[in-house]
């Protein structure tokens, strides 16, 4: 079974692209998930994903590259959330709660104007590996490199921003730069994840790996690396299981992520009882 899977990966470029994209998406969302969970901004992944839908719909209506439109919309969403939160002292949840349905509504209105054939909208909602191209894989690779460099260079700033934003600002940490960097990074990760995870499921990619790793990590660095490992393992297993059982890969990866969480907390509880 595994031999067939490997043989098909070699033979079929779509499967190769799918598995590479899944691993890269997992790495990208895995690295940001630690900040998302520690800062308790889980809702932002949902918001960015739904904002992405608005961009995709307008991209389809205008006949332009819809992923580019999605990326622009997601960045506008991130900057708007940050701006309204900081300038008007509104909570992030309130701002996202307003912008999320607004973007969805604009997206649905835009789709209603499209005449004739519309691409696989359901695929955008739940992911579709057949949509992944080699260009997507290259884009995800570049996004990963940028994200990893950002985390490596600003590790200390990200740690203090996540731990105590108020005092970090007091001690001179460039909170505004880090905050915008994180929000834009999360938004672009969401856009990059749409074809694999889909708009509905991408939040799981941004939340579950870090929730799992938080239960066992002893340091921020450890949490990031464990999140990454959890996400990559779940995505490879998810693609494999979905291939063998002929199921959609996005939802299967989410189930794998949740199983990792269950196994981790169970093992931790078991170790605590025995020792």
């Amino acid at each position: 079974m595994i031999q067939d899977f490997i043989s098909d990966i070699i033979s079929y470029s779509f499967l190769r692209n799918a598995i590479l994209a899944a691993v890269l998406v997992s790495a990208l969302t895995g690295i940001f998930s630690s900040v998302v969970v520690l800062r308790k901004i889980e809702f932002i992944g949902d918001g960015a994903a739904h904002a992405t839908f608005g961009g995709i719909a307008f991209g389809l209506l205008l006949g332009t590259n819809y992923l580019l439109m999605a990326a622009v919309t997601a960045v506008i969403f991130a900057v708007a959330v940050s701006y309204f939160t900081r300038k008007n002292k509104l909570s992030e949840s309130s701002v996202i709660g307003m912008l999320l349905p607004l973007s969805m509504s604009l997206g649905v209105i835009a789709l209603s104007f499209i005449r004739g054939y519309t691409p696989d909208v359901m695929g955008l909602f739940f992911g579709n590996i057949l949509m992944v191209t080699s260009e997507d894989v290259w884009m995800l690779l570049i996004a990963n490199v940028i994200a990893w460099v950002f985390f490596a260079v600003f590790y200390r700033e990200l740690l203090y921003y996540s731990y105590d934003e108020g005092m970090a600002k007091h001690y001179g940490v460039p909170i505004g730069f880090i905050h915008y960097g994180v929000l834009i990074g999360i938004s672009l990760s969401v856009v990059g994840s749409v074809k694999i995870a889909g708009i509905i499921l991408v939040t799981a990619f941004l939340v579950i790996p870090a929730v799992t790793s938080k239960t066992i990590a002893g340091s921020f660095r450890g949490m990031i690396l464990i999140s990454l490992a959890m996400a990559v393992v779940a995505s490879v297993m998810g693609i494999f299981v979905s291939y063998v059982l002929d199921m959609p890969p996005g939802p299967v990866i989410v189930v794998m992520l949740f199983m990792e969480f269950l196994i981790t907390v169970s093992l931790k509880a078991l170790i605590r009882v025995r020792f």
């Binding site: 520690l38 600003f154 740690l159 970090a168 007091h170 949490m223």
Partner: protein, 246 residues
């Protein structure tokens, strides 16, 4: 004049027509330990925020001659956050290093020295969230001391700490004041401890009601600051009188 670390002149702040602080003036010298007391909503934390630079829109003049170390009110302990005690203390050194300049070995040695000073060096590799209330308070103090401040500002540092821990913490502050020649400005609701530990007591309720040596504050001066909260005042005065055998 050379010893003056902090000078506040005619500090006023209001939100709409509501005055939070009005014409507050005082100064603090090196090796002086000043306690700020006052009822809830008196403007104590607003005064602290103005001094540490976290408040905009006030009028008046604040001059700080030197660095400030700041221990904020009710710091969130974030019990399950994966950050080590050493890393939290090192945060206080960030301003000395700045962006893109990682901590050096000498910085970590300094962090260990600070943790030793506040008595928690043996906990340096523990997760910060697993510390007790008193230990965490000492960690916050180590962080505030990291930048080698001339003025240490503490906003209700005793919150969530038991009586033994409080007494030990105030003894630590007293020794730090003398050993490092720093000035300390502390907001507290624990009036008894303030009178015990501080050299100077400042009573504030929108305006400055008294600012004097702890031994020379009169019950009438306290009453004028706490008049809007009679129960609290009576309890405070009873405590105050017991402590001072009036």
């Amino acid at each position: 004049m050379e010893n003056k670390i902090l000078s506040v002149e005619n500090l006023s702040y209001r939100i709409g027509s509501h005055w939070i602080l009005r014409d507050v003036s005082f100064s603090i010298s090196r090796k002086e330990f000043v306690g700020i007391i006052g009822p809830n909503g008196a403007g104590k934390t607003t005064l602290i925020k103005a001094i540490v630079g976290d408040l905009e829109g006030y009028s008046g003049k604040i001059v700080v001659s030197g660095k400030i170390g700041y221990l904020s009110q009710n710091p969130d302990r974030k019990r399950d956050f994966p950050i080590k005690v050493r890393e939290v203390a090192a945060m206080g050194l960030y301003g000395d290093r700045g962006i893109l300049r990682p901590f050096r070995k000498s910085d970590w040695i300094r962090v260990d020295d600070l943790l030793r000073t506040v008595g928690i060096l043996d906990l340096r590799d523990r997760k910060a969230g697993t510390l007790s209330g008193g230990e965490y308070q000492r960690l916050m103090l180590a962080r505030a001391l990291a930048s080698d401040p001339d003025l240490l500002i503490l906003d209700e540092p005793e919150a969530g700490v038991d009586e033994m821990g409080k007494a030990s913490f105030y003894r630590l502050l007293e020794s730090l004041k003398n050993e490092k020649s720093i000035a300390i400005l502390m907001v507290s609701h624990d009036i008894g401890m303030v009178f015990d530990a501080c050299d100077t007591v400042m009573c504030i309720n929108k305006t400055l009601h008294c600012y004097n040596d702890a031994d020379n504050i009169t019950p009438e001066e306290l009453q004028s600051a706490f008049s809007s909260d009679l129960d609290f005042f009576i309890r405070s005065r009873d405590h105050f009188e017991r402590e001072h055998h009036l």
